[in-house]
Symmetry: C2
Subunit: 230 residues, 2 copies
């Protein structure tokens, strides 16, 4: 992360790590499907996980890209719609810890645990609202700019050369995060490269001019906490 520390539900993470079952998934494996019974809470140990909204005809919308310490799955205290509604897929070989909701539920009496869960949901909601604007108001270039900014907040590392994004993403994956096409992303990235806003080295994106990216979506008062890819 650049600068600010952001909220992390450390007690919840510890709890799942301590009592949860260790599971491994290889690249592209599904961790849960939209109509699976929503009865497990997960935390990422290593690797990366996409949370997506399903869409037939091969299309998908990636809502989140999770890394170590992200919690996901049954994260709702009361709203039990029975199904997850989303699906989770391992982006790379991944180790996660999983705890059944029934087991986790027993710890919700502890104020610290419950409070962290509430904060988690509140932040999630704020992030969606912010993202909605970025994705809808400035065309597909705006969606890409917004995604790159979020990536820099979540996976960016400041280097002499610029902000190095510590995760490789294919054009198709970026397209699915932006709700657009692979070809469109390819062209848009190439334009950003020509304009020297970014460069790509060994498939890793480096952001050289964050302010110009921000200008695309007219984001000045950008909140680091609410502008994340997870």
């Amino acid at each position: 992360m650049i600068g600010d520390t952001i909220f992390k539900p450390i007690n919840v993470i510890d709890l799942i790590r301590q009592y949860g079952e260790r599971l491994t998934f290889s690249k592209n494996e599904y961790i849960y499907l939209p109509d699976d019974k929503e009865n497990t809470i997960f935390v990422v140990d290593s690797g990366e996980v996409f949370i997506s909204k399903m869409q037939e005809e091969g299309k998908e919308l990636i809502l989140k890209l999770l890394g170590r310490d992200s919690i996901f799955g049954a994260t709702r205290l009361y709203v039990k719609s029975n199904e997850y509604g989303t699906y989770a897929k391992a982006k790379s070989d991944t180790v996660i810890k999983s705890l059944s909701w029934t087991q986790f539920n027993a710890y919700l009496d502890e104020p610290q645990i419950k409070n962290e869960m509430i904060q988690f949901i509140e932040i999630e909601s704020e992030r969606y609202a912010t993202k909605m604007r970025d994705m809808l108001m400035h065309g597909k270039n705006g969606a890409l700019a917004g995604t790159l900014i979020r990536l820099s907040n979540s996976y960016g590392e400041q280097t002499a050369d610029g902000i190095f994004i510590k995760t490789k993403l294919t054009n198709q994956e970026l397209a699915n995060m932006c709700g657009t096409t692979r070809e469109g992303i390819n062209r848009a990235l190439n334009i950003l490269k020509e304009e020297s806003l970014i460069s790509i080295e060994n498939k890793f994106i480096i952001i050289h001019d964050l302010s110009s990216l921000r200008r695309i979506i007219r984001c000045e008062r950008c909140s680091i906490e609410f502008c994340q890819v997870y």
Copy 2:
């Protein structure tokens, strides 16, 4: 609403009604601005309120259209970003009740109140996630179809003629809900009229063929609870 009853935080609503201050706003008045200090929770008594994300150059993205019994404002238990981030504007002449966060906070010890607030936030988050997909994956027609479906769930009344949407919306307002232009909405509505999916009578929209609207955004397993305009 059509069918299902949906979640309503009745105890919270009663609380704000009982102890809150009555405020009136006339059409187009702002109730709060994005950088106002987030220190008041509101409930709508009568009239309608838009919650929007700001955008200079006159553009705005309407996130919610609230009616009687909707709560808004400082609805976060822990995440106090100090500013609202959104603005609230009276769509029509409106009466609301407002309670300072400090006062409201004292009642959060009551489990019923706290639980309702948590549920409210959880549902809000689910609604945003669902909306994101509808708005991003099927172009501007999809955004309009999604908006009309949400309007029918929130403000629809089944009549012999179809689903009557009990609130008047200008093309500009619909455009701001969809992240598109007034002209675009105008043409899209006219096409839907030609195809007899909807008709407009005395400025009120009537939906004749909800299934066809759903087909535009490929929504079969549509959840009434998560598909609302508030």
